[in-house]
């Protein structure tokens, strides 16, 4: 193997932006930023307070950077403490918006809703959740096990038991399913 090839093999070159899996919490006031940082740090999250990028013109002049994958869990913690952010943004694309397109498939006896990479399927007559599919974060199998076999009325909401962005996507699909299956 040529020396240059060997070097390539043992020295991956990550992109300049090493924060691709980070998000920003935008608050209205600096005092909320400080409280949020304290809450999240004491809960063990790897967060830090930073100045916002130029694209973010709303709120105060500080933001909290956090592990984006754990968005659902972090938002639940902040909401519980009464410090909900104004907005949540990915670091790599602060203008990106969460998925808001749903794909609905009618199997006759069953109805499936997909949001981003997550799908939920319900038996129409009984309103029983029969399958959860897709996703890649490790709370998906956990949420699926909790939801499958429950009716839409009895099942916990993914936002209450999930932790990640996949859990968040499933929450959106679940909410859309509730809307579609409402009496």
């Amino acid at each position: 193997m040529a020396f240059r090839d060997l070097f390539k093999r043992i020295a991956p070159r990550p992109r300049a932006d090493q924060r691709a899996d980070r998000g920003l919490l935008v608050f209205e006031h600096t005092s909320e930023v400080i409280r949020a940082e304290q809450i999240l740090k004491s809960a063990g999250y790897a967060v830090k307070v930073m100045g916002p990028p130029p694209e973010v013109q709303k709120g105060c002049d500080l933001v909290v950077e956090f592990p984006l994958m754990e968005e659902l869990d972090i938002l639940r913690s902040l909401k519980g403490a009464g410090v909900a952010p104004m907005e949540v943004l990915p670091v790599t694309g602060p203008l990106l918006a969460p998925v808001d397109l749903f794909q609905v498939k009618d199997f006759g006896q069953y109805l499936m809703v997909r949001a981003a990479n997550m799908k939920i399927t319900v038996e129409k007559n009984t309103r029983v959740i029969v399958n959860v599919s897709g996703g890649g974060c490790p709370d998906v199998p956990y949420i699926a096990a909790r939801l499958i076999g429950c009716t839409l009325d009895d099942a916990p909401a993914p936002r209450d038991i999930g932790h990640t962005l996949c859990g968040y996507a499933l929450e959106l699909a679940h909410a859309e399913m509730l809307r579609l299956c409402s009496p």
């Binding site: 093999r9 020295a11 991956p12 070159r13 990550p14 992109r15 090493q18 691709a20 899996d21 984006l68 994958m69 754990e70 869990d73 990915p90 790599t92 694309g93 990106l96 918006a97 969460p98 998925v99 808001d100 397109l101 794909q103 498939k105 199997f107 006896q109 069953y110 499936m112 997909r114 981003a116 990479n117 997550m118 799908k119 399927t121 038996e123 029969v130 399958n131 959860v132 599919s133 897709g134 996703g135 890649g136 974060c137 490790p138 709370d139 998906v140 199998p141 956990y142 949420i143 699926a144 096990a145 499958i148 999930g162 932790h163 990640t164 962005l165 996949c166 859990g167 968040y168 996507a169």
Partner: protein, 287 residues
């Protein structure tokens, strides 16, 4: 030997680093029964059954409990960086793991330093991290579905949840999105895109498609992508090229689905039990 790295949804499970044991329909790792409901256990079951059918050693499993907080994943990432340099695997598949770019890069660096480096396959959360890291090209195979392909094709998206709306999750646009993923170096050397039509592609474009038999209900079933990836891994380990392995796995997954005759309420275990017959048929057709 094939190694499979992933999580199971029980935070009390410590790192398990052991060969898979397969007896009757029971799958065990380090004495612990692993139920192939969905996620990594479904992949593990499919790969193990396929390896046994192909006359290969059963896979080695690296598992940890993680319910989505990422603690288990990070413990497993650390374990891999500490132990892989002294290990030897011909291929490794990384699956349901908390996407974390820093840890991804450390694990990738460690895997590439193995002698010789294993063939690397990524699916689910680790595929997300591989794309985010900018190191997708180090992998031999990604196995996205349509939503995940849209994420690979969106060079700015940090997760499928933030894939921009103009990149529709429309299976009719798969060839275009495959091209876009390669333009921005966000795809593995080979892609197996799962859907109503399965596409096998590389940087040159679409290599093959698999369209039948078609069981529409499989779209709703959790775990069908996991069984597909599991079989593809086993077939790579068997010696097929990555593209051939992807094609045969896609075909076999459809045959297994046909044998299971699923409804949208069918669970993945019903499909897993048909893997040997399905794989035999797909392999016979290859020769």
């Amino acid at each position: 030997m094939l190694a499979i790295v992933g999580t199971i949804p029980d935070p009390t499970v410590p790192v398990l680093d052991a060969p898979v044991e397969l007896a009757d329909d029971s799958l065990r790792v380090f004495g612990r029964v692993v139920s192939p409901d969905r996620g990594t256990p479904a992949l593990l079951a499919a790969a193990s059954i396929a390896c046994r059918h192909l006359g290969l050693p059963l896979p080695h499993a690296f598992l940890v409990g993680d319910e989505g907080l990422g603690k288990g994943s990070r413990t497993l990432y650390r374990h891999l960086t500490e132990t892989l340099p002294d290990r030897s695997f011909s291929s490794m598949v990384f699956h349901y793991l908390q996407p974390d770019v820093d840890w991804h890069n450390k694990v990738l660096l460690t895997a590439l330093s193995m002698t010789p480096p294993p063939t690397l396959i990524a699916d689910a959360g680790f595929m997300y991290a591989a794309k985010m890291s900018g190191q997708a090209g180090e992998y031999a195979l990604f196995t996205p579905d349509a939503g995940e392909l849209a994420f690979l094709a969106d060079e700015t998206a940090p997760h499928p949840f933030y894939t921009r709306g103009f990149i529709l999750q429309d299976e009719g646009r798969v060839p275009e999105l495959v091209g876009r993923a390669y333009v921005h170096d966000n795809a593995a050397a080979c892609l197996l895109v799962k859907g109503n039509t399965d596409y096998i592609a590389d940087r040159s474009g679409i290599l093959a498609t698999v369209t039948g038999p078609s069981e529409e209900a499989m779209e709703a079933m959790g775990g069908t992508g996991d069984t597909l990836t599991g079989m593809a891994c086993a077939l790579v380990e068997y010696g097929l090229t990555v593209a051939e392995a992807s094609y045969v796995a896609a075909q076999a997954n459809r045959y297994a689905g046909q044998l299971a005759a699923p409804t949208p309420a069918t669970q993945i275990g019903e499909l897993v039990r048909h893997i040997p017959a399905a794989l035999k048929r797909a392999m016979d057709e290859l020769t």
